[in-house]
């Protein structure tokens, strides 16, 4: 194993934090906000973890509707994320955005996004900023197998290629766009097969194996940072739950398939790789699991204790500079 202990511990810590956030935070959100628009990334932890391990706070990522894992891997505070999911004023977005719009510009987190592939051009734009201003930063554009067929993605891959931008296009291929299997909508066997069409390297890796992701991401990030341009990185992964927590995935997936992927749980695989080599003990991993659980309890407490936004917040930050009375002029809001 090439990775040092510190790196390994951080990889596991990130993955278990994501897992605990999804499995604890999402049900709690459902009880409070009663919103159907929350999407669990449990099962997919290895992908953002392996990639963001190569990024620092100044690098950028664009995320998807299934973006809690992206946020946590990029260093967004889970406490503030929980508060955002609960709609509190202390949330990452002041309660204005919710799960599908979590952003933290101080961490280069350009936002989860409710429109498929819509954050991809934002990541490409951030890469452009870095190139123009010689900042040496990279951007990762996350999208899914559904997003792989969205027009703007293709335009962005072409643009990033001709402009040689420091961006990594990362497809989290979890086999399904809502209930639609990837093979139905995708014209090629692997999303990465399309890379040649945009004159960039393309890799398909096992997205349940954080080491495989880490290794490939390292190459793509290095390539971007050195000014050689974009890469398409496809990570084959699986979401353990439904598109939202309200649909029954067995209406479009088989139990056999789910069992196969569950057996390849990235946290389990990490354990099975690392513990026998004697670098980290099982107890240390258990302790990190426990800390993640406690972190979520604390995050829930923090969020519950936080105030709701002031009602006047409704009119704030529509613009930087605009007459405030225009927000409500003539519409007969409640007094």
């Amino acid at each position: 194993m090439d990775l040092d202990q510190k790196t390994l511990l951080n990889l596991y810590k990130t993955m278990t934090t994501i897992r605990h956030f999804e499995e604890r935070g999402i049900p709690e959100t459902g009880q409070r906000q009663m919103s159907a628009s929350v999407h669990s990334s449990a099962g997919q932890e290895a992908v953002p973890t392996g990639i963001c391990a190569h990024l620092n706070d100044e690098d950028y990522i664009g995320s998807t509707h299934r973006g809690h894992g992206h946020c946590i891997a990029k260093g967004v505070d889970p406490k503030l994320m929980m508060a955002e999911l609960f709609g509190r004023a202390t949330g990452t977005n002041q309660g204005k955005g919710g799960s599908m719009h979590i952003a933290d510009m101080s961490k280069g987190m350009l936002g989860t996004n409710g429109v498929v592939a819509a954050s991809v051009p934002l990541a490409v734009g951030a890469a452009l900023t870095s190139k123009l201003r010689k900042l040496g930063r990279v951007a990762v554009a996350f999208f899914g197998d559904g997003g792989a067929n969205q027009g703007v993605l293709h335009e962005c891959m072409n643009l990033a290629s001709v402009w040689k931008l420091p961006v990594i296009f990362c497809c989290e291929n979890n086999g399904y766009a809502e209930s639609t299997p990837v093979e139905y909508g995708l014209s090629v066997a692997n999303v990465a097969d399309r890379a040649a069409g945009y004159d960039m390297p393309g890799f398909t890796v096992d997205g349940m194996d954080v080491f495989a992701v880490y290794e490939s991401a390292g190459l793509a990030v290095a390539r971007a940072r050195s000014g050689e341009g974009p890469t398409l990185l496809e990570c084959r992964t699986y979401r353990f739950y439904g598109h939202t927590v309200f649909d029954n995935p067995l209406s479009y997936r088989t139990k056999e398939e789910e069992d196969i992927w569950r057996a390849r749980d990235p946290l389990k695989q990490f354990r099975e790789r690392v513990v026998p080599e004697g670098i980290i003990t099982a107890e240390e991993l258990d302790r990190m699991d426990q800390e993640a659980e406690e972190m979520m309890e604390e995050a829930i407490r923090f969020a519950d204790d936080s105030p709701m936004p002031e009602l006047s917040e409704l009119y704030e930050d529509v613009y930087v500079d605009y007459p405030l009375d225009m927000m409500r002029r003539g519409v007969n809001m409640a007094d």
């Binding site: 204005k96 719009h101 969205q150 809502e178 139905y184 409640a334």
Partner: protein, 350 residues
């Protein structure tokens, strides 16, 4: 023309849900006319997995298209990749060449990714081509806030479509209008945008079993009154009736008009009402600037000025995106209380 909810004559009307009414209209039109096809994301669900026994896994994200693929097969009920520009444009192309094509845009907030096909092709082809072509195309889409779905899944946005010459649009408010207007939209030779409201899917109402058409471009009065005209759009019609019930206790008798069509807008119906009531409030959950509410108020002020005893007024969302947090989303939406306060203010002349 003022009509109360149309009487069901000899037909059998049982109570079904708004989403079932949509489903029934689709099914009956597809039975009636083999050129009717429907395409969209997840409209059957689990696509391509028939060999595993998976067919119609979802029947639509809100179950409006359930059962269609079993009956009509996957050459008429087409699940699509996540490519709105492609499949909306394809549906328009099919409609221009002999099919009656229905495409579903899952949420109207996503229209940005396929707007060119609607704006520059569907809306303009007949005109630009000197009348050579008709585009019998229906865009099914959905609107409405109030479900904690945040800024990109809560738009109403229909005024954008009203603004485009060449497109028509309808906003059914209950199961009865849902079926009749969808039938009309599919049979129309013009492109029609059909706005389903997320908050109405479970609403039950009497719907005739057989096929029927409600005329496009016509509003209806759902509650006759004398003191003020309340115009509601989609779910807001029921906010108006709720307000009207409360106002009645204060001795104010409000007439509620259900707009039903956002292009063309039935100005005549509204003006005929205002000529009797002398006051107007339009209740519209869309954002206010250049909205349907603004347009109706302007038209009434222009064409019925001497009948008005108060300025035409609007109760709408504010000029902001839809906020996520519950208390903010609650004040964002028009509600009966805001309508009542506005009405009382206008009646009292201040």
């Amino acid at each position: 023309m003022t009509t109360t909810t149309a009487a069901m004559t000899s037909s059998v009307a049982r109570e079904i849900m708004y989403r079932e009414a949509i489903n029934e209209a689709l099914r009956q039109e597809m039975e009636r006319d083999e050129t009717v096809i429907i395409m969209g994301e997840e409209i059957a669900g689990g696509a391509g997995r028939e060999h595993l026994g998976i067919v119609d896994a979802w029947g639509g994200p809100f179950r409006t298209t359930v059962g269609l693929i079993q009956q009509f097969g996957n050459e008429r009920v087409l699940d699509t990749p996540l490519s709105e520009a492609a499949f909306v444009g394809t549906a328009i192309g099919a409609a221009s060449t002999g099919m009656r094509a229905v495409a579903e845009l899952m949420f109207v907030d996503f229209v940005g990714v396929c707007m060119d096909q609607l704006l520059n092709n569907a809306a303009k082809m007949r005109y630009m081509f000197g009348g050579q072509v008709k585009v019998p195309f229906v865009l099914l889409t959905r609107i409405g806030a109030g479900f904690g779905s945040a800024a990109q899944h809560s738009e109403s946005f229909y005024s954008i479509f009203s603004h485009i010459p060449g497109l028509q649009g309808v906003v059914p408010s209950d199961a009865y209008t849902a079926k009749g207007l969808l039938t009309a939209a599919i049979r129309s030779d013009d492109p029609v945008v059909y706005f389903e409201h997320k908050g109405l899917y479970g609403n039950r109402g009497p719907v005739p079993e057989e096929s029927y058409v409600l005329p496009l471009g016509k509003a209806r009065t759902v509650r006759p009154g004398t003191d003020i005209t309340l115009v509601g759009i989609s779910r807001m019609t029921w906010v108006c009736t709720e307000a009207a019930d409360e106002l009645a206790k204060q001795g104010i008798n409000a007439e509620v008009v259900d707009l039903l069509s956002i292009s063309p807008i039935d100005y005549d119906h509204v003006i005929e009402s205002v000529k009797r009531t002398h006051r107007l409030v339009v209740v519209d959950e869309d954002t206010p600037v250049c909205s349907i509410a603004s347009d109706i108020c302007a038209r009434v002020a222009e064409e019925a000025f001497e009948y008005l005893d108060a300025p035409p007024s609007r109760v709408t969302a504010p000029h902001t995106p839809v906020p996520y947090s519950r208390p903010l989303e609650n004040i964002y939406l028009p509600n009966a209380s805001r309508v009542i306060n506005t009405v009382v203010r206008l009646i009292n002349g201040n």
